[in-house]
């Protein structure tokens, strides 16, 4: 079974530019989550999709961040315009919907490292 795939693995951009991160969850996983870790800090929740709907976006830091999941498959996280403090590692995770052991287990991608200069 393919895992959660994130692209790009590393992106270096200048302040004010735009970056789009992509996450391909495990096939059939309706739950999709975005997390991020900024330098020296803990991993923080950003938002949660169930299929194409945003279930919880309370962790999104501000309106420069836009997450989409059209069709309920892959998801993108766009940062526009990027600021220095957006630098960090952005993780995507997915899980099954419903009861049973699989629904409780998040599978994480390797992360996308964003560096804003």
């Amino acid at each position: 079974e393919a895992g959660v795939t994130q692209f790009p693995s590393h992106s270096v951009i200048e302040k004010g530019q735009t970056v789009t991160l992509r996450c391909d969850p495990i096939s059939g996983h309706d739950n999709l989550y975005w997390y991020r870790r900024v330098m020296g800090k803990e991993i923080k929740f950003l938002l949660h999709f169930v299929k194409e709907s945003k279930q919880d976006e309370s962790g999104m830091p501000n309106n420069r961040f836009l997450a989409e999941r059209t069709g309920g498959t892959y998801s993108t996280l766009k940062v526009q315009p990027a600021e220095l403090e957006d630098s960090g590692v952005y993780f995507c995770a997915s899980s099954q919907v419903g009861g049973g052991p699989g629904a409780n287990v998040l599978t994480f991608g390797a992360g996308s490292r964003l560096t804003v200069l």
Partner: protein, 115 residues
């Protein structure tokens, strides 16, 4: 949302058993306890999950006392490759979405295994 507290770091030697305890005093009735392992430049990886008593799988055991206010991850006979950060998370499934309500990561426990 239940907050978790773990030791910041631990040291061990190859072949020893390692026990990492996590405190979650305000755990809710519907919360599960899940442990993840993270290596540098990788995402967190699921190790084990439990609700109460003891759970064992091929890599670890999880001990949860009756009051569920803490849990202990036990790694038998660690090796150098077990050097990683270990996170204890507490959270409940949403009855609406079937997915986890947002999980809160703590600082984790940095385990160093020495030869």
């Amino acid at each position: 949302l239940a907050k978790t507290t773990q030791p910041i770091s631990m040291d061990s030697y190859e072949g020893q058993e390692v026990n990492i305890t996590c405190s979650h005093n305000n755990i809710a009735t519907n919360d599960y306890i899940t442990w993840y392992q993270q290596f540098p430049s990788q995402g967190p990886r699921f190790i084990i999950q439990g609700y109460k008593t003891k759970v064992t799988n091929e890599v670890a055991s999880l001990f949860i006392p009756a009051d569920r206010k803490s849990s202990t991850l036990s790694l038998p006979r660690v090796s150098l490759s077990d050097t990683a950060v270990y996170y204890c998370l507490v959270g409940a499934l949403s009855l609406i979405s079937g997915g986890y309500n947002k999980l809160i990561f703590g600082a984790g426990t940095r385990l160093a295994v020495h030869p």
